[in-house]
Every structure is written in structure tokens, then in C-alpha cells.
Amino acid sequence: MNDIDFEKIYNEHADPIFRYCFFRVSSREVAKDLTQEAFIRTWRSFEKGQQILNIKAFLYKVATNLVIDYYRKHKEVSLDLLKEKGFDFVNEGRQAPDFLDLELVSREIQKLPEKYQQVVSMRYIEDMSPKEIADIIGASENSASVLIHRGIKMLKKNLNVEDFDEQR
């Protein structure tokens, strides 16, 4: 992987990886750090001669591991603490009620079991296909679909979302 390739990969995947991390940790700064680290680790794997067939899947795998590590190392990071600090959403003329609801969604996302958080963020934030998600989490397309369905059902249920679409 030469410099041009790397820059191309970075420009293509930096935002999605950042969003994925942000959805999981609800902090811009932490999400930025994790994104950066994900790219560095991916580069190192290239350097070691590891064969990476699907760069997107690889980046998501690395980012997922980093998020898990982050929560393991920072057990004290609770949603209450995040609430104290305030959420890091970029304030683009958003109103206070929006923030309160975003906070609520964040909290519910993070309450989901790890495997559901992963697939829900990939499916709903990045609009990835179940096939792509299945490649990343190392499961069959069918079980990925089941996880997505259950995850979003669980999230909507917890948020008391009325009339949620079963098909989605």
C-alpha cells in the first residue's frame, strides 16, 4: 500500500469509521482518537504483510475492537458522566429538545448488547447491506439479518418508538 493508496482509503473511509465510533461512544474527541488509531493499526497490518482483501471490513473490525477496548479500559465512562460533560454533537442550529432526544437515543444505543450495537450502527448509520455486515462480523448473511432485526427492534422498544416498521 503506497502513500496515494493510503490517502485514498483514508479519504473514503475516515467519515464512516468516525461515525461508527461516534455512534458507539457519543464523544467526538474519543471517536476521533479511535478513528485515527484504527487507520494506524490497519497500516501496520499492511506493513507486516498481512493480506487484507476487504479494506472496509478490516477497518470496521479494527474500530470495533478499539471501541470494545475503550470501554474495557474506561469502565468509569458511564452515560451519567457523558451527560455531565454534555454530548459532542456539532451544534448546527439544533434546538434543545433535539439534544435531549439525541442523548436519550445514545443512552439506549449503549445499553444494547455489543453485537447489536455493531450491526445496528452499520445498518442504520452507514446503510450497509446485511451481506457487508455479515463479512465484517464474520457471520452468515442470515444471522447478520437476524441480529440487525432484533437489535433495531430492541432499540425501538426501549425508546418506545410507536409504529416501528418491522420490514426495516
Binding site: 461515525r19 461516534f22 494506524i40 497500516w43 501496520r44 439525541l102 436519550l104 418506545n160 418508538v161 410507536e162
Partner: protein, 259 residues
């Protein structure tokens, strides 16, 4: 929360992205990290190449490594070994002198001729020690025993190597070696006499005891052993005395020849 609201909130999450500045800054940081990695790798490679080369050298030549360690050991203990050179039997450093310094000296002599020369030199050294002790009035039985034991060892070594020299280099060279020792021994006749004399005394006193009616067969094993040792030591001293005597005879002969 209604469905639309939920969709809207999800859309907010979807809309999150890095600003242009953030993206550039991150790319810069990643490049730094990669450059640091490369630098680390280069340094590590240099170090590992050096250490591998060095360790290979050592593994490839264990003898060189052994000689090197021995040299370090010898050099570091040079002070001790130098001090030990001046020591006498009974001194704290005397074992260093005989068991380290002289062993090294012996191991550096590679040919039988050199070995004989070293043995001859060490014989004289032992007699010098005996003389020094005699002067200081410290030549007791224990120290005599130590010296005699060493003399015996050097004598054996001497004979063995002179035989070898005689076989391979001819009788003349062997005689020359013998003569060298004889000549040196001549200067130590007095101390040899002293060593022999004392021994004879102790043997004599024992033989007096013998006449008191104790038969050899009735002697305890330790006593028999001591007798053997005494007579053996006596033999060595006698041999050295004979050598010294032979030398003085030769000297006389030479004097006569000249006349």
C-alpha cells in the same frame, strides 16, 4: 417517541462527520505515527543486525569466547594474582599462586620442552619459598608437607616431559634440561638439607618408637600411611639432593677439564 422523530434522530447521527480541518489534522497525525514506526523499525534493525552479528561471532567460535572470558577474568584479577605471587605457604593468597597463576603458566606451555622448563622453574620457586619460610622461622611440618607435595608434582612433570624431549628431540636436549635444573638446585642445597634433615629426624624418632617393641604388622593403618608419605617425601628430597650433588660434580669435572 414517534417513528418520524426516531428517524430524524437517526439522521442526526448519520449526518455526523469530520470537518475538513479535523480530517487533515488526523491524516497528519497518522502519517507521523507511521513515520515514527519506520524510524523505530530502522533503529531496531540496525541494533538487531549488530547484536546478531556479535552473537553469531560468539556462537561460531566458542573457543574465542572462552579465551576472551578467561582473558577478562585474568585481567580483572591481575592485581590479586600479582599480590599472590609474593605469597608463601600458609598465606591466604597462596592457593591463588599455585592453583591459578601457575596453572595458567603450565597451560600456556605447549611443548614438552616448555613444560619441563616450567616444572623446573616451579621446583626452584618452591625451594625459594622454603628458604623464605626458614629465614622467617616459619617452616613447620604443615608447610613442609605443602612444599614437598608440590615438589613431588613438579618432579613428576619434569621427568615425564624430559622423557618426551629425549624421545623426540634427542638425549642432548634432555640432558640440557636436566642440567639446568641440577644447576639451579645446587644453589638450594642448604634448604634441601634442611628439608631432608627434618624428615630424617621424624623418621628417626619413629624408628626409635619401633624399637620399643611395636611390630610393623601391629601398626594402625593411619600410621602406615604416614610412614609411606614420609618415606615418599624423603625420596623426593633425596632425589633433588642427588641432582644438586651431580651438578657440583659436573662443575668440578669441568673445572678439571679446564685445568
Amino acid at each position: 417517541m414517534n417513528k418520524d422523530r426516531f428517524e430524524k434522530l437517526i439522521a442526526v447521527f448519520k449526518s455526523q462527520s469530520l470537518s475538513k480541518d479535523e480530517k487533515e489534522q488526523m491524516l497528519k497525525s497518522i502519517r507521523y505515527a507511521i513515520a515514527a514506526d519506520d524510524l523505530k523499525k530502522e533503529t531496531f534493525q540496525k541494533v538487531s543486525i549488530f547484536s546478531r552479528f556479535f552473537s553469531l561471532q560468539i556462537v561460531a567460535n566458542k573457543r574465542v569466547f572462552a579465551a576472551f572470558s578467561l582473558m577478562v577474568l585474568v585481567l580483572s584479577s591481575a592485581g590479586i594474582s600479582k599480590a599472590a605471587e609474593q605469597s608463601l605457604p600458609g598465606d591466604f593468597l597462596y592457593p591463588v599462586k599455585t592453583k591459578v597463576n601457575e596453572k595458567i603458566k603450565t597451560s600456556f606451555a605447549s611443548t614438552p620442552q616448555q613444560k619441563a622448563e616450567v616444572a623446573s622453574e616451579l621446583t626452584i620457586k618452591r625451594l625459594d619459598e622454603a628458604e623464605a619460610l626458614l629465614e622467617q622461622g616459619k617452616l613447620d611440618e604443615v608447610k613442609k608437607e605443602v612444599i614437598t607435595k608440590n615438589l613431588e608434582k613438579h618432579n613428576e612433570e619434569m621427568k615425564k616431559n624430559v622423557n618426551e624431549v629425549s624421545k623426540h628431540l634427542g638425549a642432548n636436549t634432555a640432558t640440557e634440561l636436566d642440567d639446568q635444573l641440577d644447576l639451579s638446585l645446587e644453589e638450594h642445597v642448604q634448604v634441601l638439607d634442611k628439608l631432608a634433615e627434618e624428615k630424617e629426624d621424624s623418621v628417626a624418632s619413629e624408628s626409635v618408637e619401633d624399637t620399643k617393641g611395636l611390630e610393623d604388622s601391629e601398626k594402625k593403618p593411619e600410621e602406615l600411611k604416614r610412614d609411606f608419605k614420609t618415606s615418599h617425601s624423603k625420596k623426593i628430597i633425596k632425589e633433588l639432593q642427588q641432582r644438586a650433588e651431580r651438578s657440583s660434580h659436573k662443575g668440578l669435572e669441568r673445572e678439571e677439564e679446564r685445568e
